[in-house]
Structure formats: C-alpha cells, structure tokens
Symmetry: C2
Amino acid sequence: MRIGIIGTGMVGQTLGSKLVSLGHQVTLGSRSKDNEKALAWAAQAGPDAHCGTFAEAAAFGEAVLNATGGTVALAALRAAGAEHLDGKLLIDVSNPLVFDPAGQVSLDPVNTDSVGERIQREFPGARVVKALNTINCELMADPGRLTGEHNLFIAGNDAAAKAETVALLGEFGWPAEWILDLGDITAARATEMMMPFWLRMMRHFGNAEFNYSFRRPA
Amino acid sequence: MRIGIIGTGMVGQTLGSKLVSLGHQVTLGSRSKDNEKALAWAAQAGPDAHCGTFAEAAAFGEAVLNATGGTVALAALRAAGAEHLDGKLLIDVSNPLVFDPAGQVSLDPVNTDSVGERIQREFPGARVVKALNTINCELMADPGRLTGEHNLFIAGNDAAAKAETVALLGEFGWPAEWILDLGDITAARATEMMMPFWLRMMRHFGNAEFNYSFRRPA
C-alpha cells in the first residue's frame, strides 16, 4: 500500500519506519522539499521510504496519515491539497497541545470542537478517522511493549474507513478487539481531551510506557 | 468522624449511606431545610444520618464532601459559608457537565481552569482535594464491584489533606496503592476533562460498571 504521512516529527518518522518495515511504500511530507529531517529519514529507512512536500506525500498515498501537531494540522492539510485527500482514508493522530510559558498545557480547539472534526469539516471528501492520539508513538508501532490487553480508540463518520484503520493497526500488532469504536468524528473531542490527563500520568510514571485498559465486573 | 455532604443527588446519597455504614455521622446538605430527597434519605439511612441546609451540613462536618454538579458547586459552597469550610478537608467529587439540546456534553470550566481550582481559589482556607470524579458513584463506594486493580486519581495542594482522603477511601475499600496522586489542584483539569471520554466509554460498554487501569512493560 502507498501511504503519505503529513509531518516529519517523531510520530511521522516512527510510523513511517514501521509501515516501511511492513512492506508499504511511504512518502513523508513536509512544508519544503529539502526538509533535512525528512531527507535523513528517507535515506536510512530503505528504498520504500521517500520524502517530499505535503502535496506530494498526499498525492502519493492511497491512504494519508496526519502526524503534524494538532495546532498546525489544518494548515498542513491545506498545503497538501483537498484534491489529494478526496475519497482517501485520512488517519488523524494529532493533538492540539498548547504549552504556556509556565509549562501548563492546554488544548486548542477543545470541548465543543476538535482537530478531528475540523479536518472532516474542511475536507468533506476525506474519510477521516481519529486514532492513535492517546499514546506515545513507540507504543503505536509496537503494542507488545506492554503486557496484557490495552486499548486504542477510534472515531469517524465512515464505517469502512474505520474498518480499514483497524486492519492497518492489526498489521502494527493491535488485535481488532483492543480497538474500541467510540462513534462518529465528534468523539475525537473525547480522546483529544485525555491529553492533559495522559501528560499527568506520564509525569506520575516517569515515562510514556503505559496505556489505558479497563476493569469490569467478573 | 462527622462528615458534611453538599448535594443530595445520587452521588451524595450513595456516599452518605456508605459513610454511615462505616460508622460515621453524616449530614446531607441541600438548598432548603425541607428538601424531600434529603429528608427521605435521612429517614431510611439510620440514626447517624441527618439532613439540613448547606451551611448546617458544612458546619457539622469535620470534613466536607462536595457532591453537587460542578456547574453549581461554587454557589452551593458559598451558601455553605467559607467560615464552615476553613481548615477542613473538602473533597470535591464534581464535574462541570453541560448537556446541549442535541445531547452533546461539554464542560464549563475547562482546559485552563477547573471546578477544583475554582473552589480552592474562592475558599483558600479549605484544604481541597479533587477525587472520585472519574467513576460512577456505586463504584466509588464499592471498588470490589470490578475485578483486578483499577485506579483513582487525586489532586490537591495540601499533602496532609490528600493523605486523609486516601485514608477515608481506604475505608471504602480502595487500597492506597490504587490511588494515584497527580499533583497540585491544577491537575483537577486533567481528571475533569476525562468526562467526555468516560461518557463515550459508558455508551460503548452499555453501563457505568468500568474503571481505568494501566498496562506497563513487564
């Protein structure tokens, strides 16, 4: 499968390398063609790893993965071009984190809107699925780092797109039954709003090697 | 111990009954002295169960528990009176849920503030601990309804108040090691912001009989 990744940070690179290792073709997209991080990644990730502009990455992908920061996601996807997103699965991994000078984190948008919803509204032709935004990128690509069942959450308006997401995550090692469907894309609010809690838990545990699971009655 | 509970809803009544069953004296406080729910509760919960105004409940308590809805918590505590809260442990269980006509939920305050913080700011003499607001009230009072370890989260500025909260929750059946300290009262933002996710999970599971736990490396 050909996959375009929007964003060249840790998340984009980690997921890109994982996808290449699984036999997929990946283009990592950045604002400019000569982005050093993207060039370095493509040089070391093998012949199936490419880099280019946001628009080239989106045009390349049969599916597109948004791995930018949530506060710049819309601008990056505008640069990618609606015509390169139409009809495609668009997995949005982002969280709109804003850090103030005192180190407190907040979200923008939040509460009555979310990045996932904004992307779906602005690109109605894309089949947006919010996914993976509740955990660290090493865990995204390797759920076996933790012991026992732990969960991912997906949200989106298109049932087929959610099924394709579950299948792709299955290649990463996520059993389908670990992936909980929270409903339409408005559920992206719920998972984005877990970020402040996740950051507190990271501080509590001292690292990002943890994920949610649920206890229920026997 | 004498405990004043502010609020006569499900949460206040459930925690009140639990506290009475553990041998504590409880006064359930409401806006008016003749609140029918509070009178009915006190009539059936035994000789250690009382009811009265917000001010009477707060004055009665060596510790005070805010079990109102988060959007009315400050008004209720103002009616209770700062002079009846000074120096006392004040456990805030509330979430500031706002339901719009379409059934979507949002929070007010949110993101850069929280009910827990607002209470601590307005009542600086109270020793506020945010706790229990991440689960259903039946679970609060009976963690053994679920199998395995599952977690509560506390936040507050006063270490002694947090230790007293852990001790009281221990009487409810919560092992101290299941209760994770997320930091000062600003961490109340993080746990209040889990509510939209919790409501989605409740819809997913079809009931409120679940709680968070965490998976980590072996």
